[in-house]
Symmetry: C2
Subunit: 304 residues, 2 copies
């Protein structure tokens, strides 16, 4: 049982090599961790193997012999399957190993999976991240951790390779709770920025001037600072590149769905988040789900 902090050379299973998982796995490889990787898409595995990882045909195979297993998957059902399905990682993980789910899933599922893991001596953390794929590549993500503090201390050196800020949020489920609370604000404020730009454009306001004034006023927010939704304002904005993500609209829709379902289960009303979520759902309906979530602007913009 690894009671001292994990160090490079540790055997790590990494399951889920998508937009976020791939650069994260690459950072761990570069830091000297021994990675065995799995993804549903063989292509994704192949790329990591070229970078030095060992391939695995299943989550179970990846977890065999691992001291730490990391999952970075789209949603709760994927995580459940990867952990407890027929070829799931939990069947292979030894007692004392640590399982870190870095996906954004709902708090009840995170808590239930932690109990299941605990029943066989595996310690689980929920550790979703905030930040873009660029942040994943730079290792500047914020990581919100739920679970035992001592377990976090053991794997902190590994998480430090991935994130610039590792925050212990409380017990199991607290990491994803904080993440969903963050997404409520990030997703809704992006729609507010889009509505602001839609009106300002019709009123003939210069979009660059609007950015300069509002980002220094009470309308300032991360969504505006990183994603003014029209070209010619900020070179790094997805709007400059036909809304190439960044963070996909479909994922923001999924995160707000999780927040709304969690709120409903606790009899909390989120009327504005609900309305924002409807717009992100419309992005997918109109074929924009794979675009950056700031492309929600295109649903609002009228012809000039």
């Amino acid at each position: 049982m690894p009671e001292t902090p994990v160090m490079p050379e540790t055997a790590v299973a990494f399951i889920g090599l998508g937009t976020m998982g791939r650069p994260m796995a690459e950072r761990l490889l570069a830091a000297g961790y021994r990675l065995t990787v799995h993804d549903r898409l063989p292509e994704a595995v192949k790329d990591l193997v070229a970078a030095g990882a060992a391939p695995a045909a299943s989550a179970r195979e990846a977890a065999t012999g691992a001291e730490v297993a990391i999952t970075m998957l789209p949603n709760g059902p994927h995580v459940r399957e990867a952990l407890t399905g027929p070829d799931g990682a939990l069947a292979a993980l030894r007692p004392g190993s640590v399982l870190i789910d870095m996906s954004t899933i709902d708090p009840p599922t995170a808590q239930e999976l932690a109990r299941t893991a605990s029943d066989q001596g595996v310690r689980m953390l929920d550790a979703p991240v905030s930040g873009s794929s660029a942040g994943a590549a730079d290792g500047t993500l914020t990581v919100m951790v739920g679970g035992d503090a001592g377990t976090l201390a053991e794997v902190r050196p590994l998480l430090d390779e991935l994130g610039g800020r590792i925050v212990h949020c409380g017990g199991n489920g607290a990491g994803v709770s904080v993440k969903l609370a963050n997404q409520i604000i990030a997703g809704t404020s992006m729609v507010a920025v889009a509505e602001s730009y839609a009106l300002a454009r019709r009123l003939g306001v210069d979009p660059r001037l609007l950015f300069d004034v509002v980002s220094a006023s009470s309308g300032d927010c991360w969504s505006l600072r990183t994603r003014p939704p029209v070209p010619g304002v900020l070179p790094s904005s997805p709007a400059e590149h036909d809304f190439r993500p960044g963070f996909k609209g479909a994922l923001m829709c999924k995160d707000l769905d999780l927040a709304l379902a969690t709120a409903a289960a606790h009899a909390v009303d989120l009327p504005v988040t609900l309305r924002a979520r409807e717009l992100y759902a419309r992005m997918s309906e109109e074929g924009l789900g794979e675009r950056d979530f700031s492309a929600v602007f295109t649903l609002l913009a009228t012809e000039d």
Copy 2:
């Protein structure tokens, strides 16, 4: 006609001595401007007279002999009455004088009043502000100016006493257009912060931790940074003092009403702003309209 910048000693009419107007007028007095002041409430006038201003029984009387007239009133009808009503300022202002409306009103009314003023040789600017009453007292407001650039240059020394940032936004109406675009984001993101806190509280998340994590993540926004809606997080937050404003919920409701009416007139749909506006309207219905707009949280919070 004052073609050189206005300087202290200039005769200024100041109309509207409310939460924002009063500290602004006090700053101009302290800077040496000769103020004649008017407000519907005699008490408000009396306080300014004690600070060195001359009293006026009407906007017209205040404007008599003034080179610059400033209005700081709740909304468009108030400004129209103060300027073009039977005792309005425009009847007294001489050709060449400058009229600065610092209220937040709708762009069409701002443009129409500027034309009316122009017809009698008075040059008008719309110059709404962003910032709290504390910002008005400190002279750190952002002032968004619509109108002629040369006219702005003339009155800039006076505006510099009131604001830390004076931004020329374009022609008449551009100042209030930018202000409304800002309010869409400020008002909606505050509701998002309130919804985030309502959910996080039910999930048992520590409110201070939530503030620390989200304000350093993609949920960061001015509404969160200045107004976490529960006590024990930020000493300067209105939530620490039973939501004493700050910026009143009734005024945010009014600003979003203006934004929505302006959007409707231009066939722009603002679905999330509309939903946020409904919550601010409910604040007034439930007797919370005079509280800070962050008290919108109390409409969402369920019992623990």
